[in-house]
Every structure is written in C-alpha cells, then in structure tokens.
C-alpha cells in the first residue's frame, strides 16, 4: 500500500484549505473588507470570531485569506520551479561553461541575504501582491537551481544515461525522456518542499507590509496588523499565524514523506538544507 505512513493530518489540512480557498465567496459569511461595527468586538451571532481592529468580520477575512496566501505561494513557486528546473536541467546536460556560469551566479546571489534580495525587487516594482509573487519567485531561483542541478547530475551519472548517449541520443532528448522522468519522486519532493519555502517567504514579505493594500485579507498582513493588539485581542494575530504555520508544516511533511518513500535513507534533510532564511 503506497499510502502507508502518509501524513494524514497534513494532507487533510491541505485539502481543507484548498476547498476553503476555492469556495471562499460562498463560505465567507460577510464581506471581508467592509466594517460592520465597533472594532475588537467579541464573538457574537453576527460575527462568529468577532471583529478585527477596524470592525470587520475576522472569520470572513481568514477564509478569504486562504485564497490570497495560497495563490501567492503557488504562483511564486511556479516561477521558481519552472525557471530553476530549466536552468538546472540545462546545466546538468551541458556540463561545461554553462554549468559553471550557472553555479557561480547562483552562489553569488546566495551570498546576498534572501530577504534583502526580495526587498530590492519590491523596491523596484512597488508594493503589492504581484510584486510579492515576483520577488519570491525570482528570489527562490538560485537555491532551487542548485538543488535541482545536483539531482539531475546525480541521475546523469547513472549507467542508463551513458547507454542513451551511446545510442546517439541528442542532449535535448536525453534531458526530456531520460533525466526528467527518472528524477521522479525526488524532484516532486524538492518541488513540494520549495512551495513551503515560498509560502513562508511570501507571508514574511506581506508580514513586513509589502502587500501594498492591507485591506486585502492575506494571512501575513493580518498577522502584522494583529500584533499591535496582543494586549486586547491576541486572537487577531494568533489565528492567522497558526494558519500560516500549519500550512507550512503540512506542505513540508508531505514533501518529506514523498522523499522518504522514494529514498528511505536520504530522509529528506537535503531538500530542507536551504533552511529558513526569512527571519
């Protein structure tokens, strides 16, 4: 049974937030942007979790927040993973100058603190959710490039690639039909874990106030606004903070599980080697 040891709790949480994200307009009881009364009111019938610091329904904001936070992370990861894979694969197939340039460039960029890199991008493009997607998408490339390159090179060095070369396969053909498919579960694993990093990075940027419009319900911005009210209404910060943390942990444990079933000894630490740089 392939699902043995699958992190049921994590998968359940991810399914739940996906449903909530898709169905937000139907599920949310109230408009997340219109104030409905006095601020910081306690849970009542009209408002299940009470109101936030500007008198808006907290539950509706959390529900819509799922949609915004998830899509930012997924879009950013799409940029990183596609560009990173393209370069990583090319570097693995053309081991000469191109590979060296790629390796050197990503090493240089990794020497600049990641958040700084992202902030520089935002300084250029202005605040806003699109800028955050762009900044996290670009900022993740050097790290993902290194990981995917290492994986592809490992596969390239295996015997069946040599036989493919001996058979006269073109480099493109080898890359497309031999390296990529054989990267399989481990490639999926590093990509999955990368999504967790992107999620963390994106919510960190919005936490720092780079979302542009704070009335957009997004978990990172909500955590940021909520922290001013730790004395009076701690749940304003704790609920979105919990949602962010649970999502990151769920995605990561899913990634680790995929990595574990594909390569029991590796245990997945390599994929998380890049560590949490959003501090």
């Amino acid at each position: 049974m392939i699902l043995r040891g699958a992190p049921i709790l994590s998968v359940g949480w991810l399914i739940l937030i996906t449903i909530v994200a898709v169905g937000a307009p139907v599920l949310a009881p109230l408009d997340p942007q219109q104030p409905l009364g006095p601020p910081l009111s306690y849970p009542a019938q009209a408002s299940f979790l009470g109101t936030d610091s500007l008198g808006r329904d907290l539950l509706s904001r959390l529900i819509f927040g799922t949609r915004f936070s998830l899509s930012i992370a997924l879009l950013a990861s799409a940029i990183t993973i596609s560009v990173g894979t393209l370069f990583g694969l090319t570097a693995a197939v053309f081991p000469g100058l191109f590979d060296r340039i790629m390796l050197w460039a990503s090493n240089t960029l990794l020497a600049i603190p990641g958040l700084l890199l992202a902030m520089l991008v935002v300084a250029r493009t202005g605040t806003g959710l699109a800028s955050v997607v762009f900044a996290i998408g670009i900022g993740g490339i050097p790290g993902f490039l290194r990981l995917s390159r290492a994986l592809f090179i490992q596969i390239r060095s295996q015997a069946f690639i040599s036989s493919a070369v001996a058979l006269g396969g073109s480099k493109l053909w080898i890359a497309r039909f031999h390296i990529l498919p054989n990267a399989g579960p481990r490639y999926i694993s590093i990509s999955t874990i990368h999504i967790a990093w992107a999620f963390l990075g994106a919510t960190s940027l919005t936490f720092l106030g780079f979302a542009g419009d704070p009335s957009i319900p997004e978990w990172g911005s909500m955590l940021n606004t909520g922290r001013s009210f730790l004395n009076q209404a701690p749940h304003l910060a704790i609920l979105p903070g919990f949602a962010i943390s649970a999502t990151i942990m769920a995605i990561q444990s899913l990634g680790r599980w995929i990595s574990h079933i594909s390569d029991p000894l590796d245990a997945g630490w390599r994929s998380s080697q890049s560590g949490n740089r959003n501090r």
């Binding site: 219109q34 202005g126 106030g209 419009d213 704070p214 009335s215």
Partner: protein, 538 residues
C-alpha cells in the same frame, strides 16, 4: 563590579548584556539597580530611536523632546498666548521692508562649556546650518530666503533676507535653530557633534548612546529663561531618555515603574491608564496639518467637483476617528488643526451622508451597474486609486476610507507607500485620485508647499491664481498677524469650496505620567516638554 570570564569581556563591553545564563543574572542586577536609583532623577520614554539627534541637521520631532531643554533659542513662543517673547535676544526690530531683522542679545549668557554667548556665536550657528555640506534636513529650510548674517557689535546681530519671510520668528523659536556652543561645533563637526552637544539651556547634555539612552543633567548656572517658565531653575537633577519603539510595551514600561513619563500611547492603553489613580493622562494636541487626503484635480474622475463632494460625503469621519483613535482625538475640519489655528479654521465640513453622495454621483451620470456592482459612466468604472503613507495610522484610516468609497459603488485600489520615496514617485506619475500626507508646524505658511502651483507637495495638482496670491501675500507682503489670519481664512474656505481635501483627525499625542510628577507642560509645537518646570509632588 564583578569580573566575567575573559571570553565574554568583549561582549560585555560591546553590547552591555551577556547572552544566556548570564542574562538572568544581569537581569537581576539591573532590577536591583533600578530600584536603588536616587529619587532626583526621572526616566522619560521616547518612542523611536532617531537616526540622528543633531537639531541643526536632523529633522525628527523626537530629538526636540530632550534637546529643547539643552538649547535656548533667540526668541521663545509663549505656549499660552502664542506671542513671541525674548529668549537669548532681549529685543529685536524688523525693518520697514521686512527684510532685515536686528537682534539685541543678552549679555549674561554662557554655554555649558563656559564659552560666552554673543553675536559671533549666533553667526557661527547659522553658518553651520546653511553650510550645504552639512546636509541640514530641516533647520536650513526653516530660514527661508536668508541671505547672510551680519555681526554689528559683540551683542548685536542682523539677519538679512532676500525677500520678506513671515515665518522667520516662528522658526527662530524652535530647537532646530537653538544656539549651540561655537567651539563645540567647531571641535566635533557634523556627525560627531550629536554626541557632544553643548547649549545654554536649563539642562546640559551628558551622553547619547545610540539605541539606548540620552542623559541630561541640571545646569546649575541657568538664569536666563524666558518669563513664562514657572521655575527659575531645574528641580530634577537628572533626566534619562529611553526608547520604546514597540507601542504595546509602552504602558507596560510605565506601569512597571521603568519610566515616569511616556508619549504616543495607543488609545486603548491611554484610556485604561487614565482611569488609574497612580497615573495622569495628558492629551497634547500637535499643531499643523490633520491626517488628510488630497484629491487629484488633474485626473478623471476627481477633476469633477461634484465627484469630490460626493466622495467627501461618503466618508463617516466620526466613525473612522472613533474606530482608529478612540476617544481622545477631535475630528478635523480643515487644512490646519483646530486647536492651534482656531482663528483660521471656521466652518465645519459637510456631514456624513452616503445617500446624498450617491445622488450627487447619479446626477452626473455615474450610475450603479447591477451586473458589476460598481458605478459606471459611458462604460467606464468609477475607479479610484488611493495612496497613503505607511506611518501614523494612515494604513488603517486608508482602509476605512476605501471601504466607504466601495460602499457607494466606487472601485478602490488602496496602496500603502512604504516610504517617502514611493509617495514622491506616485506624485510624479500622477496616477492617483487621492493621496495622503501631513506635516506638523506652528506657522500656517506650512500650506504653501502643499497648495502653491510649483509647491513640492502640491499633491492635488491645484493651479489657481487666487490660491497663489493668497499664499504669497501671507508669507511676504505682511507681517501683521491679524492680516495673515484673514488671508489664511480665505484660503481655507477656497480649499473647502473646491473640495480639495478630505481631513480626518487632528493629531493628539497621548502622554501619561506618574501622578507624583507635577508641572508637565509642552511648547506650542506640542512635542517638546519644558523639563525645567517638572517637579515631584511634595
């Protein structure tokens, strides 16, 4: 003093604290120290660690809180009457053409480093400020069209202006143009001087440790204060200023006894402290401009007066002020704050009425489209781009304004500009319908850079010859205060008629102090306390 294992010694020296297990120990020691402090000192909580505290060079209001008591100014403004009274200058005369100011200085004043105060010292100070290499951020511009300083004799000094400049006296009464010891200025120069400040005031500057504290000590020789000081000399031997950037911890610091006076409390905390017996709350109005948003008259659809009027009526300013600022803030009624400029700001703004707002828009063809849920005219959506600064409650207020406009059928994009650069950039591009910014100040000439056609902060894009004329007259043609008030009244009602501005709230600094401390009063600017008048309850 006990000794640390040698490996920790550099850290102890560098950071004043030691990691981990030692932190607990040090914490205990610190708490022991603070409870043993001598009774004649107080701790005043500042709210942000400024990037520099040289009043001639840096611009923050925060630096004036301690330094207003280190420096005297040539003249003072009596906070009760608003009149300008003698300070280091015994008297002054202004020439007929209002371009020459002559100051006759006191002859008994010495700086904390025993340098004598005289006309040459005044010239040295002003020259230091206007030196372009020194990059003065505020003081230099407060002098307006100053041409040069002339020393007539030891105690007479003349300011020559290129053209008349009514706000000059107001500028000279502020700490940014306070008189520093010329020998100290020369010895340290810009950058280092801020750590070695020397003035003539009731307190002398002892030390400034970046991010940590500023210490002042009583100046026992002080005998030249303006007449409105209640005390002839300082009553409290030592005042220490510490920084509390995190607003949530300010009331904690006050209640735990770590500080005796602290400002900029969050409204909820202020309300709670006001009810306690051990603390007094001082809501201090800060004069200048209210929290305000300009309509851009150069772009669709806010180029239409009726749209602007509708947008004004759509916003419940009372609700916004109550939600964001609690009970202590007045709703703003004009381009200047009510408390300080009560002669200028006369008629209140139109009251909140979303239905009238909707009718106004209907009249000119912006009608709700049921499919999209927004107002449309000729197939175009009523789209508004609102840009607000990231500081001073602007993001919260911006969200409520944006919700209010959405409520009457506009499609609002709210953008929080994370720094001044983005605001300027947006102004350059001009693609906004409304934008926020406000400054503090005690002279109404503040309005000039906001409403004059080529004003640096002309966010509305207003180009009106009537406005221009009023502004120039008020700053150049007359020094008569009554005449100036008349001119500014006219300007205010023009701004009002043209619906150029959405004013929200006059700034009030919520200061709380231990009730054993008496005599806390502030200068006309609102931020700066007269430390000399502080004393302990008997």
């Amino acid at each position: 003093m006990f000794t640390f294992p040698s490996i920790f010694r550099p850290l102890w020296k560098a950071g004043h604290r030691v990691p981990f297990s030692l932190a607990l120990l040090v914490g205990l020691l610190l708490s022991a120290c603070s409870s043993m402090e001598e009774p004649l000192s107080i701790v005043y909580g500042l709210t942000l660690a400024p990037s520099g505290i040289d009043p001639h060079i840096n611009a923050s209001a925060e630096l004036g809180i301690p330094l207003s008591s280190v420096y005297d100014t040539l003249i003072y403004q009596n906070p009760d009457s608003g009149e300008f009274v003698p300070g280091l200058a015994e008297k002054w005369t202004i020439s007929e053409d209002a371009k020459t100011y002559t100051f006759y200085l006191r002859q008994d004043v010495i700086f904390h480093d025993d340098t004598a105060f005289n006309a040459a010292a005044v010239k040295a100070n002003i020259d230091y400020v206007i030196n372009p290499d020194h990059l003065s951020q505020k003081a230099r511009f407060m002098l307006g069209p100053l041409e040069r300083i002339e020393v007539i004799d030891t105690f007479t000094v003349v300011f020559h202006l290129r053209e008349p400049f009514a706000p000059l006296l107001d500028s000279l009464a502020q700490v940014y143009l306070g008189m520093a010891s010329p020998s100290a200025l020369e010895e340290w120069g810009p950058g280092d001087y801020q750590f070695h400040q020397v003035g003539t005031g009731p307190y002398r500057f002892v030390e400034y440790v970046v991010n940590d504290h500023i210490t002042l000590e009583k100046n026992p020789d002080y005998a030249w204060g303006p007449e409105f000081f209640n005390n002839k000399e300082a009553q409290i031997a030592k005042v220490i200023f510490r920084f509390y950037e995190d607003s949530a911890t300010r009331s904690v610091a006050l209640e735990s006894g770590e500080v005796d006076i602290i400002g900029e409390l969050p409204p909820q905390d202020a309300q709670r402290l006001a009810a306690l017996e051990d603390f007094d709350l001082y809501p201090i109005p800060i004069p200048g401009q209210p929290l305000q948003y300009f309509f851009n008259v150069e772009v669709e659809p806010t180029n239409d007066l009726q749209v602007r009027q509708a947008l004004l009526q759509a916003v419940d300013r009372q609700f916004i002020v109550e939600t964001v600022f609690g009970a202590f803030s007045p709703v703003a009624e004009g381009p200047l704050t009510n408390d300080h400029f009560e002669d200028i700001v006369l008629d209140p703004y139109t009251s909140y009425d979303p239905e009238i707002a909707g009718e106004l828009l209907d009249e000119i063809g912006w009608v709700i489209d049921e499919d999209q849920g927004y107002r449309l005219r000729d197939g175009e959506i009523l789209a508004l781009h609102l840009i607000v600064p990231s500081w001073g409650s602007n993001p919260e207020v911006g969200q409520l304004i944006s919700a209010a406009w959405e409520n009457i059928g506009a499609q609002v994009t709210l953008e929080v500009a994370p720094g001044f650069g983005k605001l300027r950039e947006a102004q350059g591009e001009g693609n906004y319908q409304a934008i926020g910014l406000n400054f503090f100040g005690t002279d109404a000439d503040l309005l000039r850079s906001f409403y004059s056609t080529d004003g640096l902060f002309n966010w509305s894009g207003v180009q009106d010859s009537r406005v221009e004329q009023l502004l120039t007259q008020a700053s150049q043609a007359t020094l008569d205060p009554d005449r100036r008030v008349k001119l500014y009244q006219e300007l205010t009602s023009l701004i009002h008629q043209e619906a150029l501005l959405l004013p929200i709230r006059d700034y009030v600094n919520l200061v709380a102090a231990r009730s054993s401390i008496l005599g806390l009063r502030y200068s006309s600017q609102g931020w700066f306390p007269y430390l000399i008048d502080l004393q302990f309850a008997p």
